[in-house]
Symmetry: C2
Subunit: 267 residues, 2 copies
Amino acid sequence: MIGADRGVLARLRAHRRSPLHVVDPFKVPPREAVLKAAAVQRAGLPFLLLASTDYERFDERMPAYVAQVKAAVDIPVITHFPPRPGAGLPVATGADALLAPALLGSTDPYFVWQSLLETLHVQYRRGTAQEELPEFLLEAALTFGDDPVSAAVMHTEPLGRTPAQLDRRIETIRAFGFPVVYLYSRFEQVTGRVCRYFRDRLSPGQLIFIGGNVRSREQVEGYLRAGADYVVFAGALERADWREELDRLCAAPGTRERSGAAALRRT
Amino acid sequence: MIGADRGVLARLRAHRRSPLHVVDPFKVPPREAVLKAAAVQRAGLPFLLLASTDYERFDERMPAYVAQVKAAVDIPVITHFPPRPGAGLPVATGADALLAPALLGSTDPYFVWQSLLETLHVQYRRGTAQEELPEFLLEAALTFGDDPVSAAVMHTEPLGRTPAQLDRRIETIRAFGFPVVYLYSRFEQVTGRVCRYFRDRLSPGQLIFIGGNVRSREQVEGYLRAGADYVVFAGALERADWREELDRLCAAPGTRERSGAAALRRT
């Protein structure tokens, strides 16, 4: 266990098979984030993610942002940001957990894994109190499809989809025992087949998150049927009628009018 | 850079192609270690290793042991021990560096890599001052041949020697950017062919250490010809006439009478 044990991984394992919403704290004003967090909790989602590929002045913005969101909800708040050389992963004290990505498809060992060591080293050097650290969730992060943004920031190459290419990643993910595996496509969509391929080969304790261009309830259901544990949507709520959109994305199958995703969770 | 930068990795890269001696601090009395350290330095070896698979009461024994050895020599002293769950790698303050092994052939993700994160976490929690930490040398450690000792302690499986098996490890070692690769056989010997196979495929900055049952100058020379950067001998000096044995192991090629390995180093 790295960071403080706040029971987040245990809770992630207990609430599998749910959509999750990501708020981008560097795009969404705090007031809107608070409203969305409360709506997400009402809709039955078991966590809220705060994430972005881009960030600036993280340590100025995030503690107050996290505190405001936390004050509005009881569900755990998890951050997800890329590391930067020299600083490691940005750490938002006050968050319950952080997803610590190992970008296995990066050509730079820093982003593959060394940033995780640097993160601990930097917090250590800074004298952050242990109990202030969020729980670290070690994550294998794989990107699919052309993605010049991820390539520029983290030197990732899109993962090929042949069985041999997938098998090599799966072998590493199993050997390294990542509790979380994040499959992401910035401009395309991860296929249900890829999701199923990972689910059938990872160990049962390894949680699969799928994200990127999730816009419909059908997609959410398709990924859940393909074995995803969490289906992450972000941009879908970046519109004026986000409340209706949230209801649509979280409605239980066959009951489009209902909000609340509790019925979806099959654990 | 994890731990304090003491220039050890830079020195390792500058003094490639040398034998190295390992003293086991849990077998060799400190007085004998001091004599051996001084002799090793006189013989021209650029580092001294302190290492063992077994250890007990590390924190009681090692600081004084390291201090005595350090007082006798100018060459850097590097420790190499396996981690233990809950404690991480044992850290000898006073040592210049520690080899931090990722046991890629372990079936337990703790020994594959998670121990490295735990090590930082534990030192952080303990409040060890940053500047007291040795320099961490991230190492991919691979074991060859049947080895029930390593299997019992670190859940390692011997690495197969087919090109496909070696290639998968090499791919990981390159992607993760380990600066040190340690090829070890406890009861057999790593072959020159395996050494050459790794050398031809790793990046030039990745240093190859070979160890296990190195007993003759011919072996040392064979590994150096096969591209090893450091050839490690331990048990060879566990005998009464260790001074003569050291001279034999370190003599420059064709000058068996000479001691001193300086002429061997081709950098």
